[in-house]
């Protein structure tokens, strides 16, 4: 999928966790041979059930974990290579992350001003008044008020904390934001609020967003293109509309069939499809690979499956 139109390009990324030594050594292939690309100023949604490796993918891209193998290009520069000061600066200046857990992701011993202003401090801004000014500006942007700067995280609601996390991420003016299930811990009413905020910011600042979620209905609303993950593999990548209109992989079908419909009449007749890899695939003879079935629509399948599905 090598293509210079991508701002972020992930090629054959693997992240294997090992534990134990010798005979007891175990390997978890949290991310296995994942490839996709994200275009500038688009929102790429990454979905999949809990434990399929979405977080790990995001964290490997931003180098919280060292990748086992594979290549990650950001604006053409390989950011999966050996870590050094220069690369670290490049990474931290360009990519920011929003975390899953609104309680866990803010340091309970720091005030909001310290939390949000940290990115500036690290970048060598010394003047406290200037930092404060920027922090307040960011807080306003995410709908908080100046007075909140002196508060500690435990005084905020989940939605507010998540917005603080967003303020922390955007204060350094990143090009790419990896949003790791920023709304999955929030109440539905607040989810919309946070997503709308992200959308506004994206437009205002020209951000590119890698949006991770386990819930297709959230991604559907928000993403231009969607990648579906299953057990460390990317099984289908397509434009949002294509994916909904014409899902090919049985796992995508299963995921889509799990979305409740707003219309009570169609909801009543909604049939849930389940996905059993052993039943749905026969990979004993042929190996599956990523195939472009129509423009911009990739699916992970074997040749015979391709024939069967794309009729």
């Amino acid at each position: 999928m090598a293509d210079s139109q991508y701002i972020l390009e992930v090629n054959n990324l693997c992240q294997h966790f090992t534990s134990g030594h010798g005979k007891k050594k175990m390997t978890v292939k949290a991310v296995d041979d994942v490839s996709f690309g994200v275009r500038p100023a688009e929102t790429f949604g990454l979905v999949g059930e809990s434990g399929c490796g979405k977080t790990t993918t995001g964290r490997t891209i931003i180098r919280l974990y060292n990748p086992t193998s594979g290549e990650v290009l950001f604006n053409g520069r390989d950011i999966a290579s050996k870590m050094n000061g220069d690369l670290r600066r490049y990474l931290t200046d360009n990519i920011a992350m929003i975390f899953q857990d609104p309680i866990e992701s803010l340091n309970p011993k720091m005030t909001i001003e310290e939390i949000v202003g940290e990115g500036l401090k690290v970048r060598g801004m010394k003047d406290r008044a200037e930092i404060r000014q920027k922090v307040i500006e960011m807080l306003r942007k995410v709908g908080l008020v100046e007075e909140h700067a002196t508060r500690y995280p435990h005084e905020f609601s989940g939605g507010q904390r998540q917005r603080i996390g967003i303020a922390r991420a955007i204060i350094i003016n990143p090009k790419l934001i990896i949003a790791d299930e920023p709304v999955s811990a929030l109440d539905v009413s607040v989810q919309a609020q946070v997503i709308n905020l992200l959308n506004d910011l994206k437009e205002e600042m020209g951000l590119t967003i890698l949006f991770i979620a386990h819930n297709l209905s959230v991604v559907k609303y928000f993403s231009d293109r969607i990648g579906v993950m299953y057990y460390g593999h990317l099984v289908e990548v397509a434009k949002g509309d294509d994916l909904y209109r014409n899902p090919l992989h049985p796992y995508t079908k299963a995921l889509l069939s799990a979305i409740p419909e707003p219309n009570p009449l169609t909801e009543r007749s909604r049939v849930r499809v389940d996905y059993v890899p052993e039943r749905d695939h026969d990979y004993s003879k042929e190996q599956p690979s990523m195939v472009e079935v129509e423009p911009e629509h990739y699916v992970y399948c074997s040749p015979s499956e391709l024939k069967k599905w794309s009729v």
Partner: protein
């Protein structure tokens, strides 16, 4: 797969205008100011601490003892080294209380020859208060006699030793609080160095993990495995029995506990999302260790320090008891106890006062650290 098939919809749903699908929530999100005051972590903990009676009593007890330790040696009018062989082993005598019959400077002398009572050289004028028992032993008339011991040894009238004197005639009140001063200082400094070494060692080992952690942990284990007493004795021989060498001796293995605690706390916190978030912002390791992770270990650390202080006092006493205490004539609670127990049967008060004081200190510090642990418990954050 079908999503919404417009043709299957019932009439009333078919021709809904687009305006029915607009978000009700149009205005921007804007939050209210909080009505309450911001409360920092420590203020919050202090509020909870001040609500616990036991903690407040024990902390006042500790403060009182510290004040006494600072004050008393300067105002008794005796110095802790001043010897007075004529006035040795005087019993306690306190102004005011003497009229009530306690701490009045009297002692019972047993098995004395009755004849000698009238000898003013041996029993000065007014020193004999009461004859408790008269009996006959091998034809000699004997008595048990209660004497005013201060008059009996010929001390001046205005001499008062509240806690009595020791075998060299030194004022025990002065020595006890001077000893408390030294004991507290030893405890304080040894805990401080333990903390310093333990925090740094544990932080490095916990933060970096992997091979670094493995090596550091094994080194600590080897040190921990050495017999403590032997090491201490070697230390004393090498550096003499001064305060510094006692502090060092208490440090050799003392820091290991702290480092273990800090290491486990680092393991607990370093994977937290807020630490990861800081890392993705490019925060350097040292800032992560000291600014992000360490402040979250402060609760257990303070609790540990508070428990370690009575522990250090106790260890110091223990060393003194073995004769490895601080160099004479300096007292410490342990030295006083060791001296006192040699004459426990004749002069029990010489052991009693230091024993009571050390017990008080231990109980107060332990209760206080319990209260502190509860107060610093992050799960109780914000509770009244």
């Amino acid at each position: 797969m079908k999503w919404i098939d417009r043709n299957n919809l019932p009439e009333e749903l078919k021709n809904l205008p687009d305006s029915s699908f607009e978000s009700l929530h149009q205005e921007d999100i804007k939050d209210e100011k909080f009505q309450t005051k911001p409360v920092g972590f420590f203020r919050d903990a202090m509020i909870r601490l001040s609500k616990s009676k036991v903690s407040m009593i024990s902390v006042s007890c500790i403060v009182l003892i510290i004040i006494l330790a600072l004050l008393v040696p300067n105002i008794t009018g005796y110095s802790f080294t001043e010897q007075n062989l004529g006035n040795k082993n005087l019993p306690p005598k306190i102004q005011g209380l003497e009229k009530l019959g306690i701490a009045d400077g009297t002692r019972v002398l047993e098995n004395r020859k009755k004849d000698a009572l009238s000898d003013p050289d041996r029993y000065p004028e007014g020193s004999v208060l009461e004859i408790l028992r008269e009996f006959d032993s091998k034809g000699v008339a004997m008595v048990d006699v209660k004497v005013d011991y201060y008059k009996y040894v010929g001390a001046e009238d205005n001499r008062y030793h509240w806690f009595g004197t020791d075998y060299l005639g030194r004022d025990l009140l002065t020595r006890l609080f001077q000893g408390t001063r030294i004991s507290l200082m030893i405890a304080f400094f040894s805990v401080l160095t333990n903390c310093f070494i333990g925090v740094i060692y544990g932080a490095i080992s916990g933060y970096y993990g992997g091979k670094v952690d493995m090596i550091l942990t094994h080194v600590a284990e080897v040190l921990d495995g050495m017999p403590y007493i032997v090491v201490t004795i070697l230390f004393m021989i090498l550096f003499g029995s001064g305060m510094v060498s006692i502090v060092l001796a208490l440090t050799i293995t003392g820091w290991i506990g702290t480092s273990r605690l800090i290491r486990s706390q680092f393991y607990r916190f370093k994977g937290r999302e807020y630490v990861l978030a800081a890392r993705t912002l490019g925060v350097p390791d040292l800032t992560l260790i000291f600014r992000h992770i360490l402040p979250n270990c402060v609760g257990p650390l303070i609790t540990r320090v508070m428990i370690a202080i009575p522990g250090a006092i106790f260890s110091e006493s223990f060393l003194a008891y073995l004769g490895l205490g601080i160099k004479a004539p300096n007292p410490s609670i342990g030295v006083l106890l060791a001296d006192g127990q040699k004459v426990l049967l004749q002069y029990p008060y010489q052991t009693l006062f230091p024993a009571v004081l050390i017990s008080l200190l231990m109980i107060a510090f332990n209760l206080f650290s319990n209260g502190l642990r509860d107060a610093l418990d992050p799960t109780k954050r914000g509770e009244e």
